[in-house]
Amino acid sequence: MVIATLALVGFFVALYLWLWKLGLVGSLACGPGGGCETVQTSPHAEFLGLPVALYGVAGYAALLAVSVAGLHPRWAERREPAWLLVLLSLIGLGFTAYLTYLEAFVIHAWCRWCLVSAGLIAAIFVTALSELVSRRTPAPRAGR
């Protein structure tokens, strides 16, 4: 549930950044500092020809779908969703780590929304991991 909620928030953050990239949102509400536009207009805001934010939209949507499906009674007992969530969020975390590295050492500007997304994906990963560990223990299987 925590993962689904975080993924939904992340989905909207990524969607917002992607729409901005498409030119549909006028100015980024970035708060003081204003590094968002610097980061978003830098050549690093694209990866393999697609805007970075679009990967975020897709990634969060996948996390949301898997986490909601994993709550369904049919899957609640199984460990596959938990594994999948760990795997997906690990990919997301790796990608985010790379992007944060770019912000810090290459672009030299910080994009707040990107940092929010970085926090979200880190929290999702930690939650997914702890979920997996808790499902590994036989306690829930006792079915009390």
Binding site: L8, V9, L24, V25, G26, S27, E37, V68, P140, G143
Partner: protein, 229 residues
């Protein structure tokens, strides 16, 4: 433990969150942008902003004053800027012969970004950089006119001419000068100025993209009339 949990409240919560997020995205899509600048300004607000004397360039003591009424998105205005204004600036304005006043006369309809451009220039003017922005807008008119939303391009010009971007962003997002631009447009209307560029030099009124030589001979004739004999 989580096995037999009732998921309904959770789904509801997620739904509410999705609606809130959707609302946020929707409001972001409708904030700023060409729409905001194209929206009509309430009559009262425009009236309160009336009385702006235009952007001035040149000496107060120059013998001739030229009032230009222009639209940043009008191709003839850009042509006039290229063919006449830049030379006039160097040879007539900077030498103290002419004082220039630029007035916004946005032509709505075909020029969807005219008011946004005028506003970007007003925001630059707030930082004392109206004329560099005016030059950027005319020099790059063909490029930004073709965009879907040139807001970001204008911001790049703002950066290029050395504006404080935080102040510029604040100015653009609040639409602080929309009323003044509207008041300028109404004032030009009242003078019967409906095409751009229109120049008012003394008692003469000339429309169209003059070349520098034509402009200079007009100015010469006006200064000959006004010269003390």
């Amino acid at each position: 433990m989580a096995k037999r949990m009732n998921l309904k409240p959770f789904y509801w919560g997620l739904g509410v969150l999705a609606l809130a997020g959707g609302g946020w995205i929707w409001s972001a899509l409708n904030r700023g942008g060409p729409k905001m600048f194209a929206e009509p300004v309430p009559t009262g607000e425009a009236a309160a902003a009336a009385g702006f004397a235009g952007y001035m360039l040149g000496s107060d003591s120059a013998p001739v004053e030229v009032n230009e009424y222009a639209d940043f998105q009008c191709p003839a205005c850009a042509r006039f800027w290229l063919l006449a204004f830049r030379d006039a600036e160097e040879r007539l304005i900077r030498t103290g012969r002419v004082r220039w006043r630029f007035h916004d006369r946005p032509l709505d309809g075909s020029h969807a970004f005219a008011r946004m451009a005028a506003h970007a220039a007003a925001c630059a003017g707030e930082q004392g950089r109206f004329w560099p922005m005016h030059d950027e807008l005319f020099a790059n008119q063909a490029a930004w006119s073709a965009e879907r939303n040139p807001e970001r391009t204008f911001r790049q010009y703002a950066e290029r001419i050395g504006l404080d971007l935080k102040a510029y962003d604040g100015c653009m997002s609040t639409g602080r000068y929309r009323a003044r631009i509207q008041a300028e447009a109404e004032a030009a209307d009242n003078l019967g100025i409906t095409s751009t560029p229109t120049l008012v030099i003394g008692r003469m009124r000339i429309s169209g993209a003059l070349a520098y030589d034509q402009l200079k001979s007009l100015i010469d004739s006006v200064s000959a009339q006004s010269a003390p004999r």
